[in-house]
Amino acid sequence: MNIARYYGNAERRTESDVIDYLDKQSTEAVDRSLDILRNRIDQFGVAEPTIQKQGNSRIIVELAGVSDPERVRGIIGKTALLEFKLLKSREIADRVADRINKYIQSRIQPGDSSKTEKSPKDSSSTSLEELFSVNDSSNSDTSKGVAKVKDSIFEENIFFQSPYDPSTILVPSDKEEKFKQILALAEIKKIIAEEGGNAEFLWGSKKQGNGQYTPVYLVNKKSELGGESIVDARPQAGSPNDPSSMGKFESSLTFNDDGARLFARVTGANIKKRLAIILDNRVVLAPTLQTKIANGRARITGLDTFDDAKDLSIVLKAGALPAPVRIIEERTVGPSLGHDSIMAGSYSALIGLIVVMIFMMFYYSFSGVIADSALFLNILFILSVMASLGATLTLPGIAGIILTIGMAVDANVLIFERIREELKRGKTIRASLDQGYAKAFITILDANVTTFIAGLVLYTYGSGPIKGFAVTLMIGIVASMFTAIVVTRVIFNYYLGARPVKKLSI
């Protein structure tokens, strides 16, 4: 397929141009999402969040001390696509609803029994009859079941007017899915187009009547104003003078100059019409315009809690995500478990360190003490390098350190064993030391390089905790090469240089 023919333009003539452009777009979308998420989380107020890109299309967010993960999920996942769209007039909406209801009626007239009986068995295709039946999945194919289906069709009223507010159309919440399927039918689309022109149905974000009904709004497809013209959004308490907002909370929006001008024009030209405030394709609010709003301010009212208002303001202010974000992996650790595990890990590291140190002292006497000081230094190195890299000390990280403790002494074991061998051959202390270090060095290098390769591969392919483990392992290997070879040598040299030593304690 020649994509350039379909998607090319003056600047992008060839196929590779188009592909490059698309690649760039998708990379930019992820980078922008990263910035926006960072903004949102910064405003949410969590200490030291980690927000990283992983691979091409993934973002890792790590937050400590969050008491309500649900709220974070809401802030992260919201696309926050804010739009202002005009509602179609009540007359048009009523006509559309009427015609759709009539259409539904016409499709479910009795007498066409062959069709009705057949439909419950024909589960592969979604016929209208199935869509309109109440228990479409559970009804049996007995005659009673069919009769019930017929009854329910007649009762079915997929639209009706809200008893509180006749300008709002309600759909029973449990029939939302069905309604969506109906809207997707070509005939219905035609009805909407004929009556409403370029219009579409959007769902309301709040259910009504104890959550049993969801309002739908017939709005212009064209967006009058978008979220990009918002410069500020602040949460605030509803005004006590206004009975509809009293006790509720709201987000107060400020538009930029262009946005303010546009907003003034739209509100001025459509007085007495309703303007829907739409967030992520759901109508949050559809107030009737009473007057021209020229000061570039708008309020989204009727939010239940201050946190709701705050969260909404955060996502509006930080901007809309350029691409939808789906949470594909989520790990939450409770504060006590997190604390317990880190403590247990740290204790183990300490106990392990002490056991190894004592063993080395027994096995190599004074030389063991030298190795111990190198080991101690090694751990100090790992911790400080990790701190300077800004790595957080996680459980796998602690495991990496613990493993390094065990393996770090390996270099010294290799050196000391060599020195022992050389001494056994009757060489002088000085010569044995030189030979021991020289011969062991090659072995240490080869052995550590292979472990380092394993660490590198872990770092490349692993994610999250495995990466943390790999980092500590690699830092540990490099640090242990230095401390075990250089530092111990310096100590030995100082020790031998200070006074004549008859017998090396090793």
Binding site: P69, I327, I328, E329, E330, R331, T332, V333, G334, S336, L337, S341, A344, G345, Y347, S348, A349, G352, L353, V355, V356, F359, F362, Y363, S365, L395, P396, A399, I402, L403, I405, G406, M407, D410, V413, L414, E417, E421, K439, I442, T443, D446, A447, T450, T451, I453, A454, G455, V457, L458, T460, Y461, G462, S463, G464, P465, I466, F469, A470, L473
Partner: protein
């Protein structure tokens, strides 16, 4: 203090025993893996939801299962986790990861309000992520082996790298096999442990190889019979091999007992790997070089 002072064990001539022992272990491992239908992966790989909860009072599994079954979670796995008042719940991807935890919480709140709980840990992994992790893990192990193979080929000889890789496959297979026999789950940290074993076992092997290379040089290259240099190298490094394995084992065993429930299987994998890796570097990796060399020469 010194272990194996002047050790002279004739390990190479008894290598058939080592081969037989390892062969048996590998056979058991492969049989167990086949019988269990592969390794038992946890949600890191399969996708799904893991919830660890701590109840105020001790709780029985059976009534809890009834509550969850009633709420429509009949296929979830339930078991105690570390303490009688802590429970781990595992749900597969057939329950969408967005809903499981809130659904289970709602069911418990309703059914047993007299025993309140706190959520200690929730892990949700989408099926796609899990699937990718298996591929990543396989790639990681593959590339680790290839890179190390090349490094050994460069530093030593081809015959040596064959011995090292056989020892490596031996260690990984037996570790996975033991996990399979005891029906322990493979999680992402276990893969990290296995890769560490790869590095560690090679570390041991290379120390012996290094000595073989050196001894071949000093003893003169007698290509006909390298049994003696290999045997001598194993014995000369025996003390070091055991000491290093011991120090590493110390810390990992401490980790197993004091590191908490979360790190326990990770530590177990390392313990098994270190024991098997030490054994293989003495009884498998170097003797194989002898067999390979004599055959080709």
């Amino acid at each position: 203090m010194q272990f194996f002072n002047n050790a002279h064990y004739d390990i190479v001539s008894k290598r058939k025993m080592g081969y037989f022992f390892s062969g048996t272990l590998i056979l058991i491992s492969i049989l167990s893996l086949i019988l269990h239908g592969g390794p038992r992966y946890n949600i890191d790989f399969t996708g799904g939801t893991f919830i660890q909860m701590k109840f105020q009072k001790d709780i029985e599994i059976q009534p809890l299962r009834k509550v969850l079954e009633k709420a429509g979670y009949s296929e979830v796995e339930l078991k105690h986790f570390g303490a009688p008042n802590e429970v781990a719940i595992r749900a597969g991807v057939e329950h969408p990861i967005e809903e499981v935890s809130s659904g289970i919480k709602a069911a418990l709140d309703k059914a047993m309000p007299e025993n309140p709980y706190s959520i200690e840990r929730i892990e949700k992994v989408g099926p796609k992520v899990g699937h990718e992790l298996i591929i990543e893990a396989m790639l990681a192990i593959f590339w680790a082996m290839v890179l190390i193979l090349f490094y050994i080929m460069w530093r030593f000889e081809f015959k040596f790298s064959i011995g090292a890789i056989i020892a490596l496959v031996h260690d990984v297979t037996i570790t996975m096999g033991i996990f399979s026999v005891f029906n322990i789950e493979i999680s992402a940290p276990i893969i990290a442990a296995v890769l560490t074993i790869v590095g560690y076992s090679l570390n041991d092997t290379i120390v012996v190889y290094d000595r073989i290379r050196e001894n071949l040089r000093t003893m003169g290259k007698n290509a006909r019979d390298i049994t003696e240099p290999v045997n001598r190298s194993i014995n000369e490094t025996l003390s070091r091999t055991v000491v290093t394995s011991l120090t590493t084992l110390f810390v990992v065993v401490v980790l197993y007992f004091f590191g908490g429930e979360v790190l326990r299987t990770f530590a177990l994998a390392l313990i098994i790997g270190i024991v098997v890796g030490t054994y293989s570097s003495i009884f498998i990796a170097s003797p194989i070089v002898v067999d390979w060399k004599t055959k080709k020469a």
